[in-house]
């Protein structure tokens, strides 16, 4: 896995951050609104938002004195496509293993090369 995907998945590994994203999927929110359901300090929520920002899963913009946060789905698409590639990779390995063993069977049923 490359390090960008690793960062995305690390960001997603925390339940609070996933909950923040779930909320943001329904639309942009203020940092104070995001903090409310979790009974956490604004500071603690901001830390989680920074992790999501580093992974490019959220964008932050300033409107007057408020920070508004929105969801960016692109990294999730990258994770999905990485998973697909990984699945294709292992499928190909197992195909190759099957071909190898089947080839050995065919060899044992055939007269060997004349030496």
């Amino acid at each position: 896995m490359n390090d960008i995907l690793d960062q995305t998945m690390t960001a997603l590994a925390h339940p609070i951050r996933r909950a923040i994203l779930e909320r943001l999927m329904r639309g942009e929110a203020r940092v104070t609104d995001l903090a409310r359901p979790f009974k956490m300090s604004l500071n603690a929520v901001s830390k989680h938002i920074r992790v999501l920002e580093r992974a490019r899963l959220v964008r932050r913009r300033r409107v007057w004195r408020e920070h508004r946060v929105s969801f960016n789905p692109e990294p999730l698409d990258e994770v999905s496509s990485w998973i697909e590639k990984r699945r294709a990779f292992w499928t190909q390995q197992l195909d190759a293993l099957d071909a190898l063993l089947t080839g050995e069977d065919a060899d044992t049923h055939r007269p060997g090369p004349v030496k």
């Binding site: 896995m1 490359n2 390090d3 690793d6 998945m9 690390t10 997603l12 590994a13 339940p15 609070i16 996933r18 909950a19 994203l21 779930e22 909320r23 999927m25 359901p37 979790f38 789905p73 999730l76 698409d77 994770v79 999905s80 998973i83 990984r86 699945r87 292992w90 499928t91 390995q93 197992l94 195909d95 190759a96 293993l97 099957d98 071909a99 190898l100 063993l101 089947t102 069977d105």
Partner: protein, 144 residues
């Protein structure tokens, strides 16, 4: 990925006409492993070292377009012919290491192999963008 709460992952299954023992042994036999494992159609396997014991390491190097790609890991469990667990890292592409579990179930003829790649948590493995929404919703409920 180092988070302990992340369970299993990406899973691929396949049936083989060969016996469970032959399928199992191919993973640990340098001569056979070098011909299928981490091998690409156009690459050339230049090194295949396998120390097939728990705690033993392996190193497979394939030359792809003049570049050497190294696959490294350590065997965690070896239970012939049912189960093989090893770590895998490809330093050229990532500093991360993943755990691969191979489970082989004998059938009347041949066997069925299931490979699990723990670099992806199970709940994510079959998701597209829409699928993520439901995952995130489900998890949000448990936090609220």
């Amino acid at each position: 990925m180092t988070n302990a709460t992340q369970v299993v992952s990406l899973r691929v299954s396949r049936r083989f006409t060969a016996s469970a023992e032959r399928v199992f042994d191919a993973w640990l036999d340098p001569e056979r492993a070098g011909r299928f494992l981490f091998a690409t159609p156009t690459g050339e396997m230049v090194r295949c070292e396998i120390d097939p014991r728990v705690g033993g390491q392996y190193r497979l190097v394939e030359r792809r377009d003049g570049e050497d790609v190294e696959h490294l890991g350590e065997y965690r469990e070896i239970d012939r012919p049912r189960r093989l667990v090893f770590t895998l890292s490809v330093p050229k592409y990532s500093s991360a290491s993943t755990v691969i579990t191979i489970e082989i179930a004998p059938l009347d003829t041949g066997c069925e192999l299931t490979l699990t790649d723990e670099s992806v948590p199970t709940e994510w493995a079959d998701r597209n963008r829409e699928g993520w929404t439901s995952i995130l919703e489900g998890l949000a409920e448990t936090v609220d």
